[in-house]
């Protein structure tokens, strides 16, 4: 049992570059949206700000580190 837990924990944190980059894009996109809801600052402003952050990661995963050769 302990072994299984350890393994799944390891998997959970054993993210590759691609997992991390998708998570980051989603994090900033939805993070901006949620901050807008929670703080009462305009939702479109916070979501746009989050998307600007997200687009940096998007740029990285499409143009700088595309999945074209082994990392």
């Amino acid at each position: 049992m302990e072994k299984i837990v350890n393994m799944s924990l390891q998997n959970m944190f054993n993210w590759s570059y691609y997992d991390k980059i998708l998570f980051s894009i989603a994090f900033f996109l939805f993070g901006g949206f949620i901050i807008g809801i929670l703080t009462g600052v305009s939702i479109s402003a916070t979501t746009a700000a989050g998307s600007v952050m997200g687009s940096v990661f998007l740029y990285d995963c499409i143009f700088r580190n595309p999945p074209l050769k082994k990392r």
């Binding site: 590759s16 691609y18 997992d19 998708l22 894009i25 989603a26 996109l29 479109s44 979501t47 746009a48 998307s51 997200g54 687009s55 998007l58 995963c61 499409i62 143009f63 595309p66 999945p67 074209l68 050769k69 082994k70 990392r71």
Partner: protein, 328 residues
Amino acid sequence: MNFLFLLGIVIAIFAGINIGGTGIAPALGPAVGSKIIGKTKAGFLMAIFSLIGAILIGPYVVETLGGGITPSENFTLTASLVVMGVIGFSLFATNLLKIPMSTSQVAVGSVVGLGLFSKSLHLDSLSHVLFWWFITPILSFLIAAIIGRYFYFSLNEKWGFKMDKGILGKLIVILLGCYVAFSIGGNNAANAIAPLVGTGMISMSLGVFLGGLMIGLGAITIGRRTMDTVGNEITEISLMGAVIVSGLTAVIVNLLSILGVPISLNQVLTISVIGLGWGRASRAIESVGTPKNMEELFSDDVSKKIMVFWVITPVISLLVTYFILSLI
């Protein structure tokens, strides 16, 4: 009823037919390509569903283009003709010179040009459109990439081979095609008729009806030919991929239409194809052994092209519209 008004109607018909003729490829291309239905049936399905889409959803986008970004008082007959002329010419250029311009982007740029010229631009409406233009590509890529990376393999394993054989699979492909057709009608009918509705010379309901009808006419007439010739990203991927991508695209475009945002279905579709390919490639590259032909799954050239054109198309159409309006 005068000559200028008739000219407006003619340009609207030309634009509508063009939108339908090119729109049928992303909508029913997968169904025709996998020989589930023939071209004639595809044309009629496209005609029916784009008309329904135009009538039900169309008015939201017409409101943005024909009175949201700039007040409808600015749509004098002459101004509307200039806007429609720019849209019509861009369709002409897209078809003949193979420049990948999106009609929606040309339309927005041109209407903004009219707003600047008339010195009355509703910034809140414009920023609403720009906001969604910025969010949509990121969101489409993200969702498609997540599907491509985490779900595509098992989905394809389970359903991929049955897609064009079983009744259920065929039905899904056809229904999704109809839904894409519905979304095209809902969003793009406005490109053909919004400036005319803005003049107040035809009513909203007559406008969207005519727009939808012309899109259908285009699908039935020139659609047969464009389905063969228009290069389309969706025809180059697997049927399973096509189903995922068209479903995702149609939902996104449909939601944006309800928000009144004119958007290019073809570009959302292409970005989703890129996202799905990126996700699949990112998975394939981690598999044991060096995968071959990674470029078949993903290439960054198309992404660059889309980004560049998405920025310059509205700007150019804005400048051209402004310039022409200053001359007359």
